[in-house]
């Protein structure tokens, strides 16, 4: 009996020793590797891969979950039957995917950052261009609205760009670009129509300067686009004043009350001072001339304008310096400038009013 017990004990000892040895030598779970994989996933999420490379990071996370499941499954097996190689392979694939997500995210961010930087400059230039050349023009409401919305979207994009939220920047910046391009195109087309009369304007200006030279007398030229009133004497430019016009100064005057400043070759018909004018001093010109009257009749006949009369009492007068176009179609100078102008004029002095003395390309490079 004693021998049997000793034998049993020895057998038990050998069995346990064998099991312990097998256990000791059997595969160990790749916990360290899985921890590293998890850190790789965290790094990927930190790089905002969730936003920029959602599909890749989702795949990496799925692989990591699979690795965990495989680990669990292997641990449920008898220890000497466990094989952690599939777990290791899956974890490595998850790490690779996480690294791929980081690389792709960084590449996408760099690409967006560079392209958006360029686009921001482009939109800023368009906005500046619009502000410099078109913002103060009497454009239609839509063009102004589009410009303002573009400006707001642009400013919002700039703020988002500063905090590197490139995905937010993209949509707003594209919208800002679309709107400002639309406004610039509308304004440019509007002005292109306006500038179609440039050859006539240039001819009028040349004729007026020539008249001044030939007659050794003074002549006035008003450049509506430049908002300038030039005084020529003996064919030479002697004075230059800032001028304010009617709010609808783009285009010719068509009828009474249209708040447009006429374009044409006129002359001073009356000099007004004191009680004769409410604008300090005024030079009445012969608007409408015969050409204006004929154009008015044609426009009324064709139904293009209302039959309100062509208007009259167009003057160069004082009271200006408000910084806006406010007259009913007259040309307003400051009272000081009226005093200076007064010295050069008399009844009959030519007054040529043109849309511009320069081409649109000379003005804004387009």
């Amino acid at each position: 009996m004693k021998k049997a017990l000793i034998l049993l004990s020895a057998l038990l000892f050998v069995t346990l020793s064998t099991l312990a040895a097998l256990h000791f030598l059997s595969a160990k779970p790749p916990v360290g590797l899985l921890e590293q994989t998890h850190r790789d996933l965290t790094a990927a999420r930190d790089s905002e891969a969730g936003e920029y490379e959602a599909a890749t990071i989702a795949e990496a996370e799925k692989l990591y979950e699979l690795a965990q499941e495989e680990l669990k499954k292997e641990n449920e097996k008898v220890f000497f039957l466990r094989d952690y190689n599939p777990v290791i392979n899956t974890a490595k694939r998850a790490s690779d995917k996480a690294a791929e997500a980081v690389d792709k995210t960084n590449a996408r961010k760099t690409e967006l950052s560079n392209s958006q930087k360029q686009k921001i400059e482009e939109v800023r230039n368009k906005l500046d261009h619009f502000e410099e050349y078109y913002a103060n023009l009497p454009l239609n409401k839509r063009a102004r609205q589009d410009y303002t919305t573009a400006k707001l979207k642009f400013l919002e994009s700039e703020k988002a760009y500063e905090r590197q939220a490139y995905l937010v920047v993209e949509n707003n910046l594209n919208e800002a670009k679309r709107l400002i391009s639309k406004s610039v195109t509308a304004a440019h087309n509007h002005l292109s129509d306006y500038f179609s009369s440039l050859p006539s304007w240039k001819r009028w200006v040349d004729e007026t300067i020539s008249w001044s030279r030939v007659n050794d007398a003074s002549a006035i030229i008003v450049d509506k686009f430049a908002h300038k009133c030039y005084v020529y004497n003996n064919g030479k430019l002697v004075r230059e004043f800032e001028a304010e016009l009617g709010p609808n100064w783009i285009g010719d005057k068509n009828y009474r009350g249209d708040k447009a400043t006429p374009e044409g070759k006129y002359h001073v018909t009356k000099l007004k001072t004191g009680k004769n004018t409410i604008y300090y001093k005024a030079l009445l010109i012969n608007y409408p001339n015969e050409e204006d009257k004929e154009r008015y009749r044609q426009n009324v006949r064709s139904g293009r304008i209302p039959n309100r009369g062509p208007g009259n009492l167009i003057e160069i007068h004082g009271g200006g310096g408000k910084g806006v176009n406010w007259t009913d179609g007259c040309v307003a100078l400051t009272n000081d400038d009226m005093d200076k102008l007064w010295r050069y004029v008399s009844v009959g002095t030519p007054v040529t009013i043109v849309g511009s003395t320069k081409s649109l390309q000379e003005i804004n490079g387009h």
């Binding site: 009996m1 641990n75 009497p138 609205q145 303002t148 707001l152 400013l155 919002e156």
Partner: protein
């Protein structure tokens, strides 16, 4: 002889008892996972990313520790370390939850304050419009500015919606943009008013 048999039985019973005690902490694991999910649901990853990542790392470490123990011979398993980590996950998740709420409130307050400031600015612009030169003097310019104010106000209405939806960062971008535009309008109006006064 009897003593030897008793000793064998004793060892066997002790071994069984020992094995029975070392069970994987399933309840604690489920609780910890639920706590992390709850924190994720309140956008902790967005507002306190570092803390949220640390929380996830802790949960992961606990789960791996459980599997590490599961891989051992039953007699040698110990879930003490895993339990401690899981308990820490529960504590951390409470902290992260509180910090997320605090950060959210901070950003929300920042956005609301910015919105209030720009709203005041827009009201100042509106007040300046009433004082700006009227009549034919600058009527067109005033109408254009009024149109711009309407657009700025519609922008601010979008800000309110964003704040209500919890998108505070986008709300801040928008409110700052509206503020910049409103400031431009204010300067424009002040210049026009000053010009009128000089005449």
């Amino acid at each position: 002889m009897k003593n030897i048999v008793k000793a064998f039985l004793g060892v066997a019973v002790a071994a069984v008892m020992f094995t029975s005690c070392a069970k994987a902490p399933e309840v604690e694991i489920n609780n910890a996972k639920a706590a992390v999910e709850a924190v994720k649901a309140i956008e902790a990853a967005r507002y306190v990313p570092a803390e949220f990542n640390a929380l996830q790392d802790s949960l992961n470490a606990a789960l791996l520790e459980v599997e590490n123990q599961n891989a051992k011979f039953a007699l040698f398993r110990s879930y003490k370390k895993a339990n401690a980590t899981l308990a820490n996950v529960m504590t951390m998740s409470e902290q992260v939850k509180a910090n997320t709420e605090t950060r959210k409130e901070e950003v929300k307050a920042e956005a609301q304050q910015a919105l209030a400031e720009v709203t005041t600015l827009v009201n100042e612009v509106k007040e300046l419009i009433t004082r700006a030169p009227k009549g034919k003097e600058g009527k067109e310019a005033l109408e254009a500015i009024q149109g711009d104010v309407v657009l700025v106000e519609s922008f601010l209405a979008e800000v309110s919606t964003l704040i209500n939806n919890g998108d505070f960062l986008t709300a801040l971008d928008k409110v700052k943009a509206a503020g910049e535009k409103a400031n431009g309008l204010k300067t424009e109006l002040e210049a026009a008013i000053a010009k009128t006064k000089r005449r």
